[in-house]
Structures are given as C-alpha cells and as structure tokens.
C-alpha cells in the first residue's frame, strides 16, 4: 500500500474512533432543561453526523485506487523537531517568561528552518541578535505601551 493511501486510511480510522468517543461522551451530557431541547441534543446530532461522514470517508478511500508510492514527500524530522520545539516553548512560557522563552524559541526555530546551503557563522550571529532583540521590543511595545499582560515567569 502506498504511503498516501495508508495515511488517509489511518486518518479516517482516527476520525471514526474520535466520532464514536464523542458520541459516547455526548450520551453522558445532562440535558439540563425541562422544556424544549436539552444541551445534549446538538452534540448528539453532530456526533452521529461525524460518525456517518467518517464512514463515508473510509468507504470512499477504500474504493480509491492505490498509487503504491512508498516515498515520503515531507520531512518527518523537520515536522517533529518543530512540534517538539513549540511544545517546549509553550511549556516554558510560564516558567521563564515571555522574553526568555521567545528568544530561545526564535533562535532554535530559525536554525531548524535554515536551509543547509545557507549555514554560515554570519547567519547564526544574525539569528542570535534577532532572537534577543525581537522579543524585547515586542515586550516593550505591548506591555509598556498597550498595557497588555504577558507571562513574566522568573523575571
């Protein structure tokens, strides 16, 4: 089976299982109203629709011809690295505060994105400067000028 078809099937199955899960969960909702429809009505209707459509997706994908192409069109490494980085960034926001965690995030993210051909000392120094200066400026602008609240962390 080709990569595309396999992934599509996995997505369809995940959707179906999620739909069933949501339906089970919707059955535990307290209607909360004596007259008219309760708060459980729409969630149940939508969960049933969800299940029906995901079955449709699954059947449709099964009848679609397979291209048997096993090559990956995307870099799994880049995706996972960025996802983990974003996860760590959000985790650290409360601990280190907006400025420090954003600086760390920006620097590492730019390094992940940087194409191999452009790797040079000059670029890394540029990244370092940008990663420090931008969060500081954003912080000054929004916290001082617009009195927005951003996570301060240990600072």
């Amino acid at each position: 089976m080709g990569t595309r078809k396999r992934t599509e099937l996995i997505i369809d199955i995940v959707l179906l299982v999620t739909g069933i899960g949501l339906f089970i969960s919707s059955r535990t909702i307290d209607p909360g109203s004596a007259i008219g429809l309760g708060g459980d009505f729409m969630p149940k209707v939508i969960a049933v629709l969800w299940i029906l459509i995901s079955i449709g997706l699954l059947v449709n994908e099964m009848s679609t011809p397979d291209d048997h192409n096993k090559e990956l069109t995307a870099s799994v490494k880049g995706f996972v690295a960025t996802f983990v980085l974003l996860f760590a960034y959000i985790m650290l926001l409360d601990v280190l505060g907006f400025v420090i965690s954003s600086a760390l995030y920006m620097f590492i993210q730019m390094c992940i994105f940087l194409p191999k051909e452009l790797k040079s000392k000059r670029n890394y120094i540029l990244f370092l400067v940008l990663a420090v200066v931008s969060p500081v400026l954003i912080n000054i602008l929004f916290v001082e000028v617009f009195s927005l609240i951003l996570p301060t962390g240990i600072l």
């Binding site: 599509e8 997505i11 959707l15 949501l22 919707s26 909702i29 307290d30 209607p31 909360g32 109203s33 007259i35 008219g36 429809l37 309760g38 708060g39 459980d40 009505f41 729409m42 969630p43 939508i46 969960a47 969800w50 459509i53 995901s54 449709g56 997706l57 449709n60 995307a74 870099s75 799994v76 880049g78 995706f79 960025t82 996802f83 974003l86 996860f87 960034y89 959000i90 926001l93 409360d94 907006f98 954003s102 995030y105 920006m106 993210q109 730019m110 994105f113 940087l114 194409p115 452009l118 990244f127 940008l130 931008s134 954003i138 929004f142 617009f146 927005l148 609240i149 951003l150 996570p151």
Partner: protein
C-alpha cells in the same frame, strides 16, 4: 444639524485622532493573533479623556483599520491577520505566489474601501427601517439564517465531498465544547475546568492557519533562496476598468451580504467574508478558478468584511444593540460618555450622530490612503527570508493568543489546532467549512434551543414564521441540489472510467 455635525469633525485634533486610530488598527489587524476587538479594548481607556465625538470616532477608526489590515498578512503570508480575512487567504495567497501580491493588495484595499463606503450609505440612509426589520428577528429567524449560512459549506466542496463535510462537522463540534449557555449542561469537558468555557475562536484560527503553516514549512523545508516570493508589480488600484465591470455584481452582492450579516447580532465580519466567498464561488461562471488566485475571491471577502462594519453600527446606533464584539465595546464607550444609543439618539444628539458618520467616512478615506501608501512597505515583508519571518510571526501569535484572555489554555489550543490544521492541509481537507462551522455552530444551537422553547418543542411550527420558512426552504433546496450535483458528478466520473 447635519452641517453642525460634519463641521465638528473638521479640525486638526479629530483628524490626528482618526489617523492614529486607523494606523494602530491596521497594525493590529495585520498581525495574526491581534484583532480589532483587542485593539478597541486596549484603547477604550484612552478615549475616556477625550470628547465623546473624538473618543468614539477613534474607536470607529480602529475598527475600520483593523478590519481592513487583516488582508495584508492574509495575502502576503497566507495567514489571516484577523478572523475577518480568512477567505482572503484562499485567493490572495495564491495570487501572491504567482507574483501578483501587489495587485491582490491593491484590489483588497480598494474593495475594503468600497465595501465600507457602501455600508456607510446604508447606515446613513436606511438605518432606522433596516434596524426595525432586524428587531423582528427572533431566535427562530436567526436559527434559519445561520443554518442557511452553514449550507454554504456545500459551495466549498472540491473533489471529495466527504472531506468538506467532515471539516464543517468538526468546526461545529468544536464550537459546542464547554458549558451550554442555554441549559447550563457541561459538555465534553473531560474533567478539565479550562474546557468549561469551550475553545476560544481566535486561538483555534491561529492554530489552523499560523501554527499549521509553521509545521507545514518545517515538513516541506525552505528552498536555498530563502523562500522569496516573486517580485510584484502594481498599476493604479490594481484593477482594470474591464475587471471592475465584470466584478460589479460580485461587489454589490458581497457588500449586501456583509451589511446584512453585520446587522444581525452575534455574527459579523468573521462570518460574512466566508459566506460572501462561497456565494461568489457558487454563482461564478468559473468556480474551478477559485482557490487558484482569482480576483473574485479577494473582492468577495474584502468587500463583505468591511461592509459588516457599517452593518454592525446600524443596530448599535438606532436600537442600542451591538452587532458584534467591537460594537459592544463601542456601546460601552458611548455609555461612559453618558450617551444612550437608541431611537432617540438621532433627535437628542443629532449633531453627534452626524459627526460620527463624518468621522466614519474620513476614517475610511484615511485607511485607503495609508494602506496604498504602505503597499511598498508591506511587500518589503516578502524580502525577509521565510526562516526569519515565520519564527517572528509565531511569537506575535503567542502574544495575541495569550494576551486576549491571559490563559495558557488558549495557547495550548492553538498548538492542538495547529497539529490538526497541518494534517487538514496536507490531506486536502478544506479549512473554510471548519471556520464556518466554528463561528456559526453555537449560534445555530442556541437559537434552535430558544426557538424550540418558544414553539413548545414543535419544530414544524418554525415554518409558520415567514422569514424563517423562506430560509429553511432555501437551505433544504441547497442541500438537495448539492447532493444531486455530487451524485451526477460521481456517475459521470464512473462512466468516464468505464469507458477508459
């Protein structure tokens, strides 16, 4: 009275206030995650010290700038700056990729201007009767209209109808999370107290567009030239006379959709841009070109979202009922200055009302000038290599998602939906139905439940309300028609395959 009102804004102070409001609005609008709603909230305290006219004019100027500013990032980065410019990304993005970024910006700005102007005309000339009609709308009418807007999902069906439907259903489901405002029942909270308020719309959209784009870029990799987009060229407003004539019907229709949706309470520019886009696609002679960078899509989206501004101000000024979140805050601003909007406002403070109309008009003109003057500056953004730009934009998105409610949960929401959005775009699940479901799901539900309480649990009684009946019949018609079209297409495809 009219002349007194207009003269009252013709002074340097008011002009300066308008200019500042528009520019700050554009900045907030163009940065993904920061919206005009947030900008109005942040600037509200500043306006207390001003005269009522200057204060409220500043808020309107921010509203105008913020709604239009969203098109800049929607076109240049394919990330909508505000929820009102989601549909602008569908064709504006591809136009920029083709090297027509300048033209897309020019057209977007021009039609933002025209859409606002048309809504000002509606506000000035037909506000009272329009507001009277809108006042007759109860939950049953609102339910039918929102349901009808939802059926516009059918216009966004591409080759796989199930994917568009799934996307729509996912959007509605997400909107239902949290405690029901009608019955108080907790839904899908899974023991997390943060989920009791459900998912906030803004972080979900930031996730689906901005975070998903970052993940997508990480998976695709950036080419060695830094991911530069082609050079742009722009002549005049970016639109030719022939194109303007061709697009006239699209423009008027989108403006009317924008004004109409703006008037209705609870829904505004975030809904109207997608509805106008879908209708334009459905009515077009060349629907297959939508999504590949045709100007029709940009025009529909940008006309309607700005037309919703004037629409939302109609019930605010005539009845004292805000049409969306921004006008709710403007209402607060009016009250603090001791002004109660309503039917009597035009008689008691007529010069103020006319002053506001004039301020609104001047804001729109200032927006046009500032944005045109800024185009060269905006497209400079494209000279920044993608690896720097995206990292910077994500940090701004964090400011927006956290800054709105100061809740870490909102930031996590954007990551979760970024993950979902990545797979959606990779496997060609259209995002527009999900956004439509997200903004309309709760409206449909709340009005259905209220309506059923009205009619003693008898759904068929909905058809005894004329306006509701019309929309319900049209909705049913749209659903049946799209099923018929989908089946016909499938049969034709199978025949073609059998013949081959």
């Amino acid at each position: 009275m009219i002349i007194d009102g207009i003269v009252s804004v013709l002074n340097p102070t008011t002009f300066a206030i308008i200019l500042i409001g528009v520019v700050v609005g554009i900045i907030f609008g163009s940065i993904p995650g920061l919206t005009s709603t947030m900008c109005v909230a942040l600037c509200l305290p500043i306006t207390f010290g001003m005269s009522p006219l200057n204060g409220i004019t500043m808020l309107i100027a921010i509203y105008v700038g913020g709604t239009s500013g969203g098109l800049i990032s929607a076109i240049l980065l394919k990330i909508p700056g505000t929820p009102s410019s989601v549909a602008t990304t569908f064709d504006g993005g591809p136009m920029a990729e083709k090297g027509e970024g300048g033209k897309a910006l020019g057209i977007g700005i021009f039609y933002s201007f025209l859409g606002t102007i048309l809504s000002i005309l509606a506000l000035v000339f037909i506000a009272p009767p329009l507001a009277q009609v809108a006042l007759k709308f109860g939950p049953i009418e609102m339910f039918s209209i929102c349901l009808f807007a939802l059926t516009m999902i059918s216009a966004m069906i591409s080759d796989n109808p199930f994917k568009a439907l799934m996307s729509g259903v996912m959007g509605i489901m997400v909107s239902l999370f949290g405690i029901s405002s009608i019955t108080g029942s907790a839904r899908f909270t899974f023991g997390f107290s943060e989920l009791e308020n459900g998912f906030a719309q803004l972080p979900v959209m930031i996730g689906l567009f901005a975070v998903a784009e970052i993940l997508n870029t990480a998976a695709e990799g950036i080419p060695a030239d830094g991911g530069h987009i082609l050079a742009y060229k722009l002549k005049g407003f970016g639109i030719t006379m022939v194109e303007f004539k061709d697009q006239f019907v699209n423009f008027i229709r989108s403006a009317l959709i924008g004004i109409g949706i703006g008037i209705l309470p609870g829904i505004g520019g975030a809904t109207s841009n997608i509805v106008a886009y879908s209708v334009a696609k459905q009515q077009s002679d060349h629907p297959e070109k939508f999504g590949t960078g045709c100007i029709d899509g940009v025009i529909a989206s940008e006309t309607s979202n700005n037309a919703s501004i004037g629409g939302a101000l109609i019930p605010l000024l005539t009845l004292g009922i805000p049409g969306d979140t921004v006008t709710a805050m403007i209402l607060g601003g009016l009250m603090l200055h001791g002004i109660t909007p309503g039917p009597l406002l035009f008689q008691t403070s007529g010069d103020l009302v006319w002053g506001l109309f004039a301020g609104f008009l001047i804001s729109t003109i200032v927006m046009l000038i500032v944005e045109y003057g800024g185009i060269r500056l905006f497209v400079k953004v494209l000279d920044v290599p993608k690896y720097i730009l995206l990292a910077f934009v994500l940090v701004l998105c964090i400011v927006g998602t956290y800054g709105t409610n100061h809740a870490m949960f909102d930031v996590w929401t954007s990551l979760i939906f970024g993950f979902i959005g990545f797979f959606m775009s990779k496997y060609k699940y259209p995002q527009a139905p999900m956004i439509l479901g997200l903004v309309l799901g709760k409206e449909v539900e709340q009005n259905l439940l209220r309506g059923m309480q009205y009619t003693d649990n008898n759904f068929w009684a909905f058809f005894t309300y004329p306006i509701a009946a019309v929309f319900l019949v049209i909705s049913a018609g749209v659903i049946i028609w799209s099923f018929y079209k989908a089946i016909k297409k499938k049969i034709a495809k199978n025949k073609a395959r059998a013949a081959a």
